[in-house]
């Protein structure tokens, strides 16, 4: 599959970026149309512990309980669309566990579509279990064969009923972990921005081929293991692990990497937990799944409203299946998603969508650096910086990071975005480190390969270099 890098952004100006509409809408499943003028709820869930021990119990958990509960609630509440996402647990790398779930979920989607006319689809998100110390590419991992299993999982998903396909790939994780724990932005730029982009390009060319062969929509990826780890560790106002200025810059860098799936031919929607979605959408015009205020079952963030402002699918991230007063957890959280989506879609019908978008955006704009850079005007600026260096994986990641840092500093200087002393100090240190980096890819790789040679599990051969 050919790779076409983005060298210009999809929109004329930031004001065109809005929820429910993408330049390149996508249709799949049983009537689902994403980015075509209506926001769709996407429900994600996790099975109860222990269910994985029995094949039939496992299938029942996913199909007869989780999906059926969700579909019943969607009908009960009058929702016109429902996309569900199964993020595969690690045990699903075995055919006996994966196939009955994937095919069963496709069947129940079809059944409800036929019976009630609800538009339905399944996203199957396979696990990337590859470990850098054992090898990321086929033939390297003699212990677990995880690189081979990654491709096998993609085939299992696509051959058995996935409507849209995704993965949360792990390339560059060893350096991202180093970056987050040491506060080292260069390590993140090298691991996620550069090596992660190489890895994504490598695996997504194969995934797109598998999807095409099986007429499955190749959705997209996310830097869950990097930028999300950074964001979660930065946490809320009572947390004290990572500075939010640092996590915001990692998010911008991650967006240059997440784009690679789309550059390999994936069509979107990308993954909800990639908070880099607004930036990626600004560059590519492809639909994006997002999460925020209605994913409090999974985590707290500081931009729960703002993230809705440019989404096409609106997700709850994930909830463990269990009973609540109002029904099972999946039914309850779908209810919460459904109301939010109905609000967005009402605003579209009334021609008030830009007003609602701005309300979402302003609510969280100044709550922290991460929300600030993901506000649609800023996301657009970062997207432009990436596209200006679109053909150079290093320079575009660096441009994303530097542009985000400048946006934050400008916001602070203009008194729009308050920062703590420490957040400012870390921001300026990141700027200093990025500014001191070499101006071309070869020198950057040489510099970082030496600098990070002792990082546990780092092996440049994992990236074909």
């Amino acid at each position: 599959m050919a790779v076409t890098r983005y060298t210009k952004v999809a929109y004329k100006d930031a004001d065109e970026l809005i929820f429910g509409r993408a330049q390149h809408p996508v249709s799949y499943g049983f009537g689902i149309k994403v980015g075509a003028g209506r926001v769709i709820p996407e429900l994600n869930y996790a099975p109860r512990p222990g269910t994985e021990r029995d094949v039939e119990k496992f299938r029942r958990e996913y199909v007869d309980y989780i999906c059926k509960d969700a579909l019943d609630r969607a009908i009960t509440a009058g929702m016109p669309d429902l996309q569900m996402e199964t993020e595969w647990v690690s045990q699903m790398n075995q055919k006996k566990l994966a196939v009955p779930v994937v095919s069963g979920q496709a069947e129940i989607c079809e059944k409800y579509h036929e019976e009630y006319g609800i538009n339905t689809a399944m996203r199957q998100t396979i696990p990337d279990q590859r470990e850098a110390d054992h090898g990321l590419r086929p033939g390297m991992d003699k212990k677990f064969s995880y690189p081979e299993k990654l491709i096998e999982c993609a085939e299992m998903a696509c051959e058995n009923g996935a409507h849209v396909f995704s993965v949360e790939s792990m390339g560059g994780k060893e350096l991202a972990d180093n970056a987050v724990t040491q506060g080292d932005i260069v390590s993140f730029l090298f691991g996620v921005g550069y090596l992660g982009s190489i890895d994504m390009t490598y695996i997504w060319q194969q995934f797109v081929d598998i999807c095409k062969k099986n007429k499955v929509t190749p959705g997209g990826d996310t830097n869950c293991s990097g930028a999300n780890t950074s964001m979660f560790m930065a946490g809320g106002f009572l947390d004290n692990d990572v500075q939010r200025t640092f996590s915001a810059i990692t998010r911008a860098i991650a967006s240059a990497r997440t784009l690679c799936a789309w550059e390999c031919g994936a069509t979107g929607p990308d993954k909800d937990c990639g908070y880099e979605g607004p930036i990626c959408k600004a560059v590519a015009g492809k639909p994006t799944a997002q999460e925020g205020k209605n994913c409090q079952c999974a985590h707290c963030d500081l931009q729960g409203n703002l993230m809705a402002s440019t989404c096409d699918l609106w997700s709850n991230e994930s909830v463990e299946y269990h009973p609540e007063f109002g029904g099972s957890s999946v039914a309850c959280w779908l209810g919460s998603l459904g109301y939010e989506v109905a609000l967005m879609n009402t605003s579209i019908q009334l021609g008030q969508d830009k007003t609602l978008r701005d309300l979402y955006m302003y609510t969280d704009r100044t709550r922290g650096p991460e929300g600030y850079i993901l506000a649609y005007d800023h996301a657009f600026m970062i997207g432009k910086a990436i596209a200006e260096h679109g053909n150079d994986l290093y320079l575009r990641s660096k441009a994303a990071g530097e542009t985000a840092a400048k946006i934050i500093l400008d916001g602070y200087n203009s008194k729009e975005l308050p920062l703590t002393k420490k957040q400012l100090e870390v921001l300026q240190e990141c700027q200093k480190q990025m500014a001191a980096l070499p101006d071309n890819e070869a020198k950057f790789v040489e510099y970082c390969t030496k600098l990070y040679k002792d990082v546990p599990a780092f092996n440049i051969k994992n990236y074909g270099l």
Partner: protein
């Protein structure tokens, strides 16, 4: 874009991080906590300010006039204790903890070379791992560094570790406790199997369940199971087990322990 002119965002949601930030610098806060002895003070400052490139010469200089064990305890460890206090006060953050711990380790390794017997005696040995099938190990890695920095010998078995290997290692080492981390609901189900394996071998060793998917209720749902919500809670729990708390008492006292009582 709507105009935000005149909007008071603080009336919508508050920036507690900005409102509550500590005004004092690390230097000001550490002033009263540093050792009085000038040699130990210099060593402690190397750790406090994360000078991993210069801690070597400073420790070697200190070793010329001080006993190795004293350089470790009254210099390096004392410095790390201040770092932990600054972390608790939200003046220092995770990167400072990691870099200070790295600095301390470099210093300890040098001091140990002069130590009779060759190695400082750890408080106890603990085993850590990420659950079978689970590649997410950043929380475990941070907990391992914090626990080492608190004086424990940590055997880090890595990630995606089979239940049988955890049990076998525990039989071999007989650690103070074992921890497992999991980010998936279906990988944390390894924990009760590990705990059951311990009991089948007659080992009354606490098993600490941690990680994004794990909650206190789950970790306490099987015999031997105890919980740690955050990496920084692991050392105080370890100290209580070392002081004689069994898994039942850790559960009973958990709120007090993690509060620092």
């Amino acid at each position: 874009m709507l105009s935000s002119k005149g909007v008071d965002f603080s009336k919508i949601l508050r920036r507690y991080d900005v409102d509550q930030q500590v005004a004092a610098t690390p230097q000001e806060m550490a002033k009263e906590m540093l050792p009085h002895d000038p040699v130990f003070k210099k060593v402690a400052e190397e750790v406090l300010y994360m000078r991993f490139k210069t801690v070597g010469p400073v420790v070697n200089e200190a070793l010329k006039e001080k006993k190795p064990l004293d350089v470790i305890n009254e210099g390096l460890v004392a410095g790390m204790e201040i770092v932990a206090k600054l972390y608790a006060e939200h003046v220092y953050y995770l990167p400072e903890i990691m870099l200070a711990a790295k600095t301390m380790e470099i210093g300890i390794a040098l001091a140990e070379k002069k130590l009779e017997g060759g190695k400082m005696k750890a408080k106890a040995t603990v085993i850590m791992h990420a659950a079978e099938g689970d590649p997410h190990d950043i929380g475990k890695n941070i907990a391992a560094i914090m626990t080492k920095a608190a004086g424990y010998d940590v055997i880090d078995m890595g990630r995606d570790v089979p239940v049988t290997e955890v049990i076998a290692k525990t039989v071999e080492v007989k650690p103070l406790f074992v921890s497992g981390t999991a980010l998936m609901t279906t990988t944390m189900s390894a924990f009760p199997r590990i705990a059951a394996g311990f009991m089948a071998k007659g080992m009354n060793i606490p098993f600490m369940g941690c990680g994004g998917a794990v909650n206190r209720e789950y970790a306490n749902s099987y015999d031997l199971g105890i919980y740690s919500d955050k990496a920084a809670q692991t050392p105080p729990i370890a100290d209580k087990i070392l002081a004689g708390y069994d898994w039942k008492k850790v559960r009973e006292e958990w709120d007090n322990i993690v509060r620092g009582d």
